[in-house]
Amino acid sequence: MHSKVVSMQEAVAAHVRDGDTVVIEGFTHLICFAAGHEIIRQRRRDLTIARLTPDLIYDQMIAAGCARKLVFSWAGNPGAGSLHAFRRAVEKGTPKLEIEEYSHFGMVARMSAGAAGLPFWTMRNYMGTDLPVANPRIRTVTCPYTGEVLATVPALNPDVTVIHAQRADQYGNAQVWGLLGVQKEAAFASKRVIVVVEELVDESVIRADPNRTLIPGMIVDAVVVEPWGCHPSYAQGYYDRDNDFYVAWEDISRDPAKLQEYLEQWVYGVKDRAEYLARQPDLKARLTAKDQYCEGVNYGF
C-alpha cells in the first residue's frame, strides 16, 4: 500500500471539481475550515454545498461565490447570531443561491441512506409541518407491514466529503473522539473522501485502539496533515472553539465589504493554513486544550 498523504492544495486540486456536491462535515466540532479556505482560494464554482449546519465556513464559501446551492438543516451562527452572507443570498438574492432544506434528522437520514447504499431513508417525522411544502423532496411511504405512513428523504451521495479527525495513519484510517456528528455516514456516502488530521500517526497506533477508528482507510482518497485545521471550530483534546471569533463574525458578515476584506486578508491573502496560523501567534496560548486523558482498555484475548 502507498501513502495517501498530500498537501491541502493537492487534495483540493485533485478531488474537488467545479459543479461537485461537497460536504465538509463536523457538528460544531472538527469543522475543517482549512479545506473550505483552500476551496475558496482555488476558486471552485457552482458547488452544491451540503452540511447540517452551514456554519461560518459555508457562509464564507457563499460570500466567495463558490456555491450554486446550499443543502442544510440549521443555518445560524451557533451561540452568536446569524450567517449574514447566507441571509443576504436568501433575502436579497445576492449572490444567487438555491436552497434545499431539511431538519437535522432529515439530513442525518439522507446521509444514512447514502452510506447504506439505499435510495431513501424513512422516519416518523414532518407530519403537520410546512417543511415538505417548502421541500418537495420530503415525501412519504406506506409501511408494507403496518400500513403506517412514514416520511422519506432521498439519499445524499456527495462527490467529495472532507472529514477532520484528531489522527490517522498514512492510509487514512482515521480516529475521532468527542462529538462524532454525522461524519461516518457522510464519508461512507461519498464518492471521494479527504481526511484531514491534527496528527499523522503510525498504523500501529490505530491498530492499538481499533474501536476509536471512525473512518477506515479503504474509503479514503487523500490524507492531509493540517494542525489547527479546524480553527475557529475545535478539536477535542487539541484546541477549544474560538467563541470570540464566532461572535465577531456577526459584525464581519453583516457588512459585505468587511466580509470581503476578511476573505482578502485571511483566505486569499495567505497561501495555506500554516501562514494563517503564523499570522495569529496568540491562538495557541488562548485556545490550546487542557489535558484530560482517559485510561486505556484491555484488548487482549
Binding site: 457538528f27 460544531t28 466540532h29 447540517l52 449546519t53 442544510f72 438543516s73 440549521w74 443555518a75 445560524g76 451557533p78 451561540g79 452568536a80 446569524s82 447566507f86 441571509r87 436568501v90 433575502e91 438574492g93 432544506e101 431539511y102 431538519s103 437535522h104 434528522f105 442525518v108 437520514a109 446521509m111 444514512s112 422516519m123 416518523r124 417525522n125 414532518y126 407530519m127 403537520g128 409541518t129 410546512d130 417543511l131 411544502v133 417548502a134 403506517e148 405512513v149 473522539w177 468527542g178 462529538l179 462524532l180 456528528g181 454525522v182 461516518k184 455516514e185 475545535y234 477535542q236 477549544d240 472553539r241 467563541n243 464566532y246 486544550a289 484530560q292
Partner: protein, 255 residues
C-alpha cells in the same frame, strides 16, 4: 417598581421547576440549558441531559455557548453519533422532555423558526428547524420558552416548522405523532398550558405583578384563561444565586 430579578431569570427558574429528578431531557442552548443545570443543582441531581450533538448525560463544567461545546463531552456518560441521537434516543421514545423556542408561536403551540414573510423571498430568513421538528414530534412532552409580544404570538404563523397540538385542524393523534407535544409555554409574564379538549394554549398562571390584560395585549389571538389563575413564586434566593454566580456569571443568556 424596580424588580429584583430579570424576566430571563424568572423564566429559567420556572422552567427548572418543571423538571423531575431522573428525567431524560433534550437540552437546547440558552435558557433551556440554564434551566436544566439549575434543576440539576437543586431538585433533580439525576437529570439526564442529552444534547442533539450526541452528548448523553452531560455535566458541562462551563456554560456551553453552542450545542456542540467541548465541555458537553468531558465527563459525559456517552457520546454517540447524531444518527443514534435521533433514531435510538428520540424516535425510539427515550426522551421525556424537550425544550423548544421560536420566533413565532401560535395558539396550538405550533412553532416557526424558518422565515418571517414568504418562504421564497422571506423578509427575515431564520435558521430553520435544526432538530426542533423531530423533538416536537417525539419528545414525551415539550416545554416552550418564549417572551410574550404580539409578533412572537401571532394569530397565524408565517411557516409551521415544529408541530404543536393542532396542525391545520388535525390533532396529533390523527397525524400519528407519538409525543404529547407542547404542554406548557413558559413566558416572561405567565404560563400557558395546552387545553386537553381544544388543544389551545390557555393562560393558567400569572407572575407576580402581571395583570391578565397585560398578557392578553401581547398575544395575537383571543387568549382564553382559566377561571382561577395560579400564582407563580418569584425566583428564590438560592435559584438567583446559582443562576448569577455559578451558571451564567457573564450574563450570556440572562439579560
Amino acid at each position: 417598581m424596580a424588580s429584583e430579578y430579570t424576566p430571563s431569570e424568572m423564566m429559567a427558574a420556572v422552567a427548572a421547576r418543571e423538571l423531575g429528578n431522573g428525567e431524560v431531557v433534550f437540552v437546547g442552548i440558552g435558557l433551556p440549558n440554564l434551566a436544566c443545570n439549575l434543576a440539576r443543582a437543586l431538585q433533580a441531581p439525576d437529570l439526564v441531559l442529552i444534547y442533539e450533538s450526541g452528548a448523553v448525560g452531560a455535566v458541562p463544567e462551563r456554560l456551553p455557548v453552542s450545542i456542540g461545546d467541548p465541555s458537553l463531552v468531558t465527563g459525559s456518560l456517552m457520546i454517540c453519533s447524531m444518527a443514534d441521537v435521533f433514531q435510538l434516543f428520540l424516535q425510539n421514545g427515550k426522551i421525556e422532555v424537550g425544550f423548544l423556542g421560536g420566533a413565532q408561536v401560535d395558539r396550538y403551540g405550533n412553532i416557526n423558526t424558518t422565515v418571517i414573510g414568504g418562504y421564497e423571498k422571506p423578509k427575515v430568513r431564520l435558521p430553520g428547524s435544526g432538530g426542533a421538528a423531530e423533538i416536537a414530534v417525539h419528545a414525551q412532552r415539550v416545554l416552550i420558552i418564549s417572551r410574550l409580544n404580539p409578533r412572537a404570538f401571532p394569530a397565524e404563523l408565517d411557516f409551521l416548522t415544529s408541530p404543536g397540538q393542532r396542525c391545520k385542524g388535525k390533532t396529533r393523534q390523527e397525524l400519528g405523532m407519538p409525543g404529547a407535544g407542547p404542554v406548557k409555554v413558559i413566558t416572561d409574564k405567565g404560563i400557558l398550558e395546552s387545553d386537553p379538549e381544544s388543544g389551545e394554549m390557555v393562560l393558567t398562571a400569572l407572575y407576580p405583578g402581571v395583570t391578565l390584560e397585560d398578557v392578553k395585549a401581547n398575544v395575537g389571538w383571543p387568549l382564553q384563561s382559566r377561571a382561577e389563575l395560579g400564582a407563580v413564586a418569584p425566583p428564590t434566593g438560592e435559584e438567583l444565586r446559582l443562576l448569577r454566580e455559578v451558571l451564567d456569571p457573564r450574563k450570556l443568556f440572562l439579560g
